[in-house]
């Protein structure tokens, strides 16, 4: 397509919504960690759960950087398939993470959301990078 459609701003806004909620979870992870521990817990158990959740969140941020790099460098900005997939997946992520915060889900559910909604679009983004830079396929 040779013109700007609605896909580009939608993709940017859903990406940003997901990012904003992930940053908010960094701040408010206390509730979720306490939800995944038994009623009486020691501080070592708390630290362990905390470090696991912080690792998951940090990897999420790293994968965000990959996707934003692909978006801003133009590699996948105008590719409709990748844009649609990204919009759908990040929308799901934003809604599930909103539930994660408000309903105080336990930390293991974050790993499910992470696998489906952060790893998948980052993988397709990397495939786009390979297609454009290695195989020299222009996708618009």
């Amino acid at each position: 397509m040779g013109r700007i459609s609605g896909l580009v701003p939608s993709r940017f806004l859903t990406l940003l919504a997901h990012l904003v909620i992930v940053i908010t979870i960094f701040w408010t992870r206390d509730n979720n960690i306490q939800a995944s521990l038994p009623p009486h817990f020691t501080s070592e158990e708390y630290e362990k759960e905390d470090s696991k959740l912080v690792t998951a969140l940090s990897i999420t941020l790293g994968l965000f950087l990959v996707e934003l790099a692909g978006f801003f460098s133009g590699v996948s900005m105008f590719n409709s398939t990748q844009s649609l997939f990204s919009i759908g997946v990040h929308c799901c992520a934003a809604v599930s993470l909103a539930f994660f915060i408000f309903e105080s889900w336990e930390c293991s559910t974050y790993w499910c959301i992470f696998a489906f909604c952060s790893v998948l679009p980052a993988c397709t983004e990397v495939m786009m990078f390979i297609a454009v830079f290695v195989l020299k396929k222009k996708s618009f």
């Binding site: 701003p9 940017f12 806004l13 904003v20 908010t24």
Partner: protein, 142 residues
Amino acid sequence: MAPRGRRLSSISLEILLFLNGWYSATYFLLELFVFMYKGLLLPYPTANLVLDLVMLFLYLGIEIIRLFFATKGNLCQRMMPLAISLAMTFPSAMMAFYYLLLQTYVLRLEAVMSTILLLFCGLELVLEVITLTTFSRILRPY
């Protein structure tokens, strides 16, 4: 289209301005809802709430003018609109700073959104300065 050597507009700036327009619209709508939420839930002295709301509408006006002048200046390769937009980046950034730190009540969500807005303003500032120097070196000053 201008020939190769004369195409001086900055494409990164154009992308940023386009996305900034959409982001500012979202930010404005979000802030309206957040003020409704805060006004109902938190103990606000009325004057503070009115001040914050008026600042929000002022911010919308400044942002629209700033982005309009910036895209026009960049695409038409004129320095004056770009300079006006550069000057308006400062009140815009101050507004975002106000919403980040100096408001009566700041929600976490507002803090994150205002930081992203400040990032946009900062990046646009740098790119606008670079574009202005490119224009002034090669074009006749208007």
